[in-house]
């Protein structure tokens, strides 16, 4: 074991005793951030972990399996990217712990596949020194060989292999080129790396000089600068055009969600209605039919119709992430972020919170400073996640007339939606400012963000995101929302009076709703909305299913569609209050659970829940009275 923990400027001389008889069972994927480890992982295992074109996408370890040609299975551990073995952030700590055998539940890997970006070897090769000195059998993969060649770069792989004392291969993880090297590595005998020399590992400068020397001896010809990246950056980071394009991109995202998403939603709605009508006659029992079709089906289908909009949102975020624009957007937004005390690295987690707060809170692991990380975790749920999208769309479609603003480009509904996203973002900034000037004060740490070259988003990566999201969404509709809808449908029919279901307001659901009605009456909500608020504690979009069910089983509103029914239940002020309530409230048990896990205490999720609920109630109250005062 001690030979594995070698460090310092030692030179490996012999084969690790006894190890060559043992075959490789687990391999760790190691490399700097954004060098393509997860892309390689997906290629080798056939799995679909999230990849994107910015550093810090992978923040936890994940194990998959490679099946070799001879049928042997090898475990492959995908790890967060590291710049050195002296980790500063939580995600890097995961990698360092796994490589040192200190991660609970994961044995020390038998071998390492070190993935380096061949177009950036000057910097990336410096990581080879500490990794090789771990003494584990190592395969060095120089990734993005296609870019290296396209930009007229070159390297003598054999010479590099001699210097490092490890096998080296030029590969392209995205296209699969050269990946048979991994299989050859696994099936060959295991050897400890035998580099010709190693630098003092704690000295970053020496590691770099060592890398320079080795690159020189391996005839490394640096690739030409990425011409298109330079050209695009001249536009996207232009003093004037940059911020302007940034805003146009944001507006285009919303407009697309509405202009393209709404019609597709309508088709889906019709299809689901048709399907419901087709199934309905085949359910014999009248009571069961009412429970299933008016209750559960209406509940589930009223949420399912929002799938096109959510997929569009994910598609557009995917294009931004995979192309590399996101890192530029972070540069543009950084100044605003820093004014509110947010760490520059907080931008990417916060932006991914537009999809869902759970991965966003995980992504804060890349923020080195603990207090900055906590502040980002605390404000992330204010960012408008995709679960709010159905609620917003439902209320906006019911209450905001579809008018054109600024010519044909921008619709009033998209504007209302954008307004809600802005309100959420402002609430996040305001909260960050408060936290950073009080309980989470900290010194500034340097903000360093590597800007990757622009790349074309691949259809595979985009397709996988959409597939994943569809699965998650349909799964939730088929489990949580179905269960809630069915339960509500049953409870609206109980208790039976002389064998007959009661009027809806006298049912169990009606009584629960009426008991909380006084609390929410100041916000302009009636008891049905109240029941929706209660069930939305499980997940935000559950309110849509709940209202779908309640309106489905209520004979007075049965014939109306969701929007019409909502109109009969809410005033304009009440609708504004509902939107603001959802913008601020923390109705997501998964987020609370992940905050609890990442902060390792109940204090923060409890504080977050209380703060956001108070803010939601206060905000909704103000919104209702303002709207009522102005539009009456």
């Amino acid at each position: 074991m001690s030979s594995r923990e070698c460090c310092g400027p030692s030179i490996g001389t012999g084969v690790l005793e006894g190890v060559d008889q043992k075959s490789i069972r687990t391999i760790a994927l190691v490399g700097p951030p954004n060098s393509g480890k997860t892309t390689l992982f997906n290629q080798l295992t056939g799995l679909n972990r999230k990849v994107a074109n910015f550093p810090g996408v992978t923040v936890e370890h994940f194990t998959g399996h490679i099946t070799l040609r001879d049928g042997k299975r090898v475990a492959l551990i995908d790890l967060p990217g590291i710049y050195s073995m002296n980790s500063k952030s939580e995600d890097e700590q995961v990698t360092v712990d796994v490589l040192r055998g200190k991660m609970t539940g994961i044995e020390l890997p038998d071998a390492i596949v070190l993935v380096l970006d061949s177009t950036n070897l000057g910097r990336h090769l410096a990581l080879a020194a500490p990794v090789i000195s771990l003494g584990l059998p190592t395969l060095v993969l120089l990734n993005m060989a296609d870019s290296l060649r396209a930009r007229d770069g070159d390297i003598d792989v054999l010479s590099l292999a001699r210097q490092l004392g490890t096998p080296v291969a030029l590969v392209s993880a995205a296209s699969g080129e050269g990946l048979d090297a991994v299989e050859r590595f696994v099936s060959s005998a295991m050897h400890q790396p035998q580099p010709t020399e190693l630098p003092m590992l704690h000295d970053i400068r020496e590691c770099r000089q060592w890398a320079e020397r080795i690159n020189l001896q391996s005839n490394y010809r640096k690739p030409l600068p990425p011409v298109w990246t330079r050209r695009l950056d001249a536009i996207y980071l232009h003093r004037l055009w940059g911020p302007l394009i940034f805003f146009l991109v944001v507006i285009a995202v919303f407009q697309t969600i509405f202009a393209a998403g709404q019609p597709i939603s309508k088709i889906l709605q019709d299809a689901l209605d048709y399907l419901g009508a087709a199934i309905s006659p085949h359910v014999g029992n009248v009571l069961i039919r009412s429970l299933l079709m008016d209750g559960a089906w209406k509940g589930v289908s009223s949420v399912l119709v929002f799938l096109p909009q959510i997929l569009l949102l994910f598609l557009l975020i995917g294009v931004l992430e995979d192309s590399g624009y996101l890192a530029r957007a972070a540069v543009i937004a950084d100044r605003t972020m820093s004014r509110f005390g947010l760490n520059g690295k907080a931008f990417i987690p916060l932006l991914s919170a537009y999809a869902c707060a759970v991965p966003a809170i995980m992504a804060t692991r890349t923020i080195e400073n603990k207090r900055d990380r906590l502040a980002t975790i605390m404000v992330a749920p204010f960012m408008t996640c995709s679960a709010r999208l159905p609620v917003y769309t439902m209320v906006i479609a019911a209450f905001v007339p579809n008018a054109r603003i600024a010519g044909v480009f921008f619709g009033s509904r998209a504007l209302a939606m954008l307004g809600l996203y802005v309100i959420g973002f402002l609430a996040a900034l305001f909260t960050a400012r408060m936290l950073k000037s009080s309980i989470l004060k900290s010194k500034d740490v340097p903000f360093l963000l590597e800007l990757p070259p622009y790349r074309w988003p691949t259809l595979r990566s985009l397709g996988m995101r959409l597939l994943d999201r569809t699965k998650a969404f349909v799964w939730r509709a088929g489990t949580v929302i179905l269960a809630v809808s069915l339960l509500l449908a049953i409870l609206t029919n109980l208790p039976l009076h002389q064998g007959q279901p009661p009027a809806i307001q006298d049912s169990i659901v009606g009584r629960i709703g009426h008991s909380i009605a006084p609390v929410i009456a100041p916000l302009g909500f009636n008891w049905k909305i109240g029941v929706g608020l209660l069930t939305s504690l499980a997940a935000r979009e559950v309110i849509v299913g709940t209202l779908g069910t309640l309106y489905g089983v209520d004979p007075q509103q049965h014939a109306m569609n969701l929007q019409q029914a909502l109109h009969s239940d809410l005033s304009l002020g009440g609708a504004a209050a509902l939107l603001i309530f959802f913008a601020f409230a923390m109705q997501c048990t998964s987020t609370l659970a992940v905050v609890r896990r990442e902060t390792n205490s109940w204090k923060w999720p409890a504080l977050q829940f209380t703060y956001m609920t108070v803010m939601a109630y206060g905000g909704a109250f103000v919104a209702k009275h303002l709207v009522d005062a102005f539009f009456r």
């Binding site: 002296n86 000057g122 770099r208 980071l237 003093r239 950084d334 340097p446 963000l449 590597e450």
Partner: protein, 136 residues
């Protein structure tokens, strides 16, 4: 032979000449790589028989390096942990750096070094001293 920087009109935000001199006075060059340490010596040697006064050694904080101008990093004046962090991204004495595009208002700015584009805030770039590279 002119310093490319000297040939440019500094913007209102860049006052490199006297500011650089101040920095040199306050933080004498020490402990840098050989090539960086030799650079000032070379410059002063050529400056000795030079007529052109613009050949003085010009040190300035990285944040004041005008866009598109090449420079060599001379010294990192940051606390150890922060210095380590910027060094991991390639900001090291002796390394050539080019100032690139920036966010609105010039902060943060993208610097190109060693084939990578890295964005850093002005607050950090202030503590990295560079020497403008002579363009033949």
């Amino acid at each position: 032979m002119i310093f490319r920087f000297a040939s440019r009109t500094p913007s209102s935000k860049t006052r490199p000449l006297f500011r650089a001199a101040k920095h040199v006075g306050r933080r004498p060059a020490s402990g840098s790589l050989e090539n960086a340490a030799s650079a000032p010596a070379e410059a002063s040697a050529s400056g000795a028989n030079a007529i052109d006064s613009s050949r003085r050694i010009q040190f300035l904080p990285l944040c004041d390096l005008p866009q598109g101008v090449h420079a060599i990093i001379h010294e990192i004046c940051l606390p150890a942990s922060a210095a380590d962090q910027v060094m991991l991204f390639g900001f090291m004495s002796g390394v050539e750096v080019v100032s690139g595009q920036s966010g609105p208002g010039g902060d943060p700015r993208v610097y190109r070094l060693d084939g990578t584009d890295v964005a850093i805030r002005r607050a950090t770039a202030r503590h990295i001293m560079v020497q403008i590279q002579e363009q033949a």
